[in-house]
């Protein structure tokens, strides 16, 4: 009895000692955020004043000779690993573009598998240099977690899929319907909000496993299913007859997917942003893998000349070689080429460009002027 008591005492002392140590775990990340912020604002006023951490990540990547890119290893269309072990997908090609811009070779990238739980920590601790893992850009993540989000490269949103035979075309048609979806606060809440706003009644069936959602829906046990649109498209593509299903033209939530870097290294943040902008400028102006050499030699467009390193020392301003954008377009292609390769109509995960088109074609992708 005395021994048990002794053990209990020891245990409780230890637990008490552990508790305060364990709870502030996210604190180091949170505390760096305010510390870095004033330094960053100072840098914009005076180029000579560099915040702490400025340039560290680029230095690390160059010294290592490899980019460490955090990915999701199993996300059809965005990042998949084929049977030979090679990676492909929209996220994967974005990683390759960064590697091509920084190191001149898209192959110099280590794809580090991350999970929804480990991804931000791995970024904070430097296990990865950049996270391109279909990560939604939100306020809390941007502020609380000590992260910086580059511009979204894929504007996703929660959608609704129905059977074509049902004849449903808009949200109002689903009054009184049963809707299947994955368990998880946002999916449920977004739908509840949207339905409540229109005073529509429905029955929600919740599942832990996303595959169960689709199979239940496929068996006709619910009238509709809800998920992020990119997910709906992937799930539709695995049905026996994908044409039997329609994704309604309804968007219940905003899910902008963006690359993420850790706060405090603005040079690296700039590199990621301008890698995206370079992909978009090339898309907007029709510079492709095939014609980039020709464009570089002949184009009279001043912005393209700056982009491809004909004029100006743009690369140096990022700490990169002057051919940074040329390299990435030459080896990975422009944003449309990346899209068509992974999400184009010939793939099994076809998604319309829609709002993910260039601003000149009615989409939301808008590269800042390169000058």
């Amino acid at each position: 009895m005395r021994k048990i008591l002794f053990v209990m005492v020891i245990l409780s002392v230890l637990l008490a000692a552990c508790a305060p140590a364990a709870t502030p775990a996210p604190a180091p990340a949170a505390t760096t955020a305010p510390a870095a912020a004033p330094a960053a604002t100072a840098a914009t006023g005076n180029a000579a004043v560099k915040p702490t951490g400025f340039g560290d990540i680029l230095k690390g990547v160059l010294a290592r000779g490899k980019l460490k890119c955090g990915i999701n290893p199993s996300n059809p269309g965005f990042s998949v690993i084929d049977s030979t072990g090679a990676a492909s997908g929209l996220d994967i090609d974005m990683c390759r573009a960064v590697a091509a811009a920084v190191l001149g070779d898209p192959k110099l990238v280590e794809f580090v598998p991350t999970t929804g739980d480990t991804r931000f920590t791995m970024l904070q601790t430097g296990d990865i240099d950049v996270l391109i893992r279909s990560t939604t850009y939100t306020f809390t993540r941007d502020t609380d977690l000590g992260l910086n989000f580059a511009p979204p490269y894929f504007y996703d949103g929660q959608g609704i899929m129905v059977k074509k035979a049902s004849g449903f075309t808009k949200l109002e048609d689903l009054n009184g319907a049963s809707i299947c979806m994955g368990r998880g606060a946002t999916t449920e809440l977004n739908l509840a909000d949207a339905m409540a706003a229109k005073k529509l009644k429905y029955t929600a069936s919740l599942f832990d496993n996303p595959d169960d959602v689709f199979s239940t829906f496929e068996q006709g046990r619910c009238d509709a299913m809800s998920n992020d649109k990119s997910g709906l498209i992937a799930q539709r593509s695995m049905a026996k007859n994908p044409d039997d299903y329609v994704i309604l033209d309804v968007t219940l939530s905003k899910e902008p997917l963006a690359p993420v870097v850790r706060q405090g290294d603005d040079q690296w943040y700039d590199i990621i942003r301008w890698t995206e902008f370079a992909l978009w400028i090339a898309d907007e102006k029709g510079v492709t893998q095939a014609n980039v050499d020709d464009t570089k030699a002949k184009s009279q467009d001043a912005e393209l000349q700056r982009l491809l390193g004909v004029n100006g020392e743009m690369g140096a301003k990022l700490g990169l070689k002057n051919e940074w954008a040329y390299n990435l377009i030459k080896s990975v292609g422009n944003f449309d080429e990346i899209w068509q390769r992974n999400l184009g109509p010939t793939t099994k995960t076809a998604i319309q460009r829609g709002i993910n088109n260039q601003w000149t074609k009615g989409g939301l992708l808008y590269a800042m002027p390169l000058r």
């Binding site: 775990a25 290893p73 049977s83 030979t84 072990g85 598998p113 695995m238």
Partner: protein, 400 residues
């Protein structure tokens, strides 16, 4: 001596199939009905699975991804390193079998024939030939062991001890990119190989740590025993998954920046420390089962407490805990699948990767059946080897 000669063996029943059936399945009308009903249920469920497996299952997903499932994204040009590890393993198994377990003919045939059976799998010719080679190496090991049993015994034991570090070094590599044995980053280790390595490291390292903790827990010195008790009870009060999460998401935040430990290393350490706590309790069970008289007898012979532990207590204790040791080895092997949750692509993790390939979307059942089969096969083999060792060390004889 004379008395024991007069004790007759118990009468043996004639052991025919008919006798057995009558005794076990059709003893009376009730048991006959139960037997028939159960046979029907088993038939129906098995038929469903078999028909599905043979006719509806689209096994192309496994055949196309066999390499990914086995070794993950390990580069093709470097796979020979894994084959060398497999070859040495085959040789060691052959040698050990020849030295210690050769009596069972059927099991011996299956062990020696295993690599040849694997060569029948739908893989490319080079892989088949390699498996045949591994088969010959295994058989050669067995033959050698039969010829030079005395000479080889010590060598094989030492070889088993250094096997794992050598394999880890070989798989990881040590030269630069263009050298002969280039380093392969742990981020592309995966598949069954990764599960096996995590399990092997965890089980093998946890054993000495666990034994030390068990002995420490029974120590006379309160500080040592308190430390061991707290360690064991704390770890055992926490699910393995939490330990993994701690190691992957919290530990890096405590470390000084720039001081990074490889994620796989973190997972292996966490797994080892977790297993050690359970191993400690297994060993303690064995230690406490040794009667006090043994300690006292050892002391009476003038052995120091360390000597008595090494020569008298531990050998008996370890033999006693063999069955539970086998069980915990199997349990640990299956526990490795939890590393998937912290982002490592072990056998289960890589299966998820395979399921995301656009051309194989929706092939869940095939992939998971394959996974279950492989996990079962390996667990069964471990369990069988455990039984062999038990029979060899006489656990059965002393306990029955």
């Amino acid at each position: 001596m004379t008395a024991s000669n007069q004790i007759l063996p118990p009468p043996t029943e004639r052991y025919t199939i008919l006798n057995w059936l009558r005794k076990n399945l059709f003893q009376n009308w009730l048991s006959s009905i139960v037997t028939l009903v159960m046979l029907y249920v088993i038939f129906v469920s098995l038929r469903g699975i078999l028909v599905w497996t043979l006719t509806e299952g689209q096994w192309q997903v496994i055949i196309a991804n066999l390499r990914l499932l086995m070794v993950g994204q390990y580069p093709l040009q470097q796979i020979w390193r894994i084959w060398i590890a497999v070859g040495i393993f085959g040789a060691l198994i052959g040698l050990s079998w020849g030295l210690w377990i050769r009596q069972k003919l059927a099991a011996t045939l299956i062990t020696l024939g295993g690599p040849f059976l694997l060569a029948l799998l739908p893989v490319d010719t080079a892989t088949r030939l390699t498996w045949v080679g591994v088969g010959f190496i295994t058989a050669a090991g067995f033959g050698l062991a039969r010829v030079f049993p005395r000479f080889l015994r010590r060598i094989v034991l030492v070889a088993w001890l250094v096997y794992l570090p050598v394999v880890l070094l070989l798989v990881r590599g040590w030269t630069a990119e263009n050298g002969p044995i280039p380093t392969v980053g742990t981020n592309i280790w995966g598949g069954l190989m990764l599960s096996g390595l995590i399990a092997a490291v965890g089980i093998i390292l946890s054993f000495p740590i666990g034994a030390a903790l068990a002995i420490g827990r029974m120590s006379r010195y309160p500080l040592i025993s308190a430390f061991c008790v707290v360690y064991i009870e704390l770890i055992r009060a926490v699910p393995l998954i939490t330990v993994f999460f701690m190691s992957q998401t919290m530990l890096p935040l405590f470390l000084p920046s720039g001081f990074n430990i490889d994620p796989l290393m973190r997972a292996m350490t966490a797994f080892t420390l977790f297993n050690a706590a359970y191993m400690a309790e297994n060993v303690r069970g064995g230690l406490q089962a040794i009667p006090k008289g043994q300690h006292e007898a050892a002391a009476a012979l003038g052995l120091s407490s360390f000597q008595s532990l090494r020569l008298i207590i531990l050998p008996q204790a370890l033999r006693n805990i063999l069955p539970i040791l086998t069980a915990s080895v199997i349990g640990s092997f299956r526990d490795t699948s939890l590393v998937m949750i912290v982002g490592l692509l072990d056998f289960l993790g890589i299966a998820r990767v395979v399921l995301a390939q656009p051309q194989f979307l929706g092939r869940h059942i095939e992939v998971y059946i394959f996974l279950a089969f492989v996990y079962w096969l390996i667990s069964y083999i471990v369990s069988y080897i455990g039984q062999m060792i038990e029979a060899r060390t006489g656990v059965d004889a002393t306990r029955r």
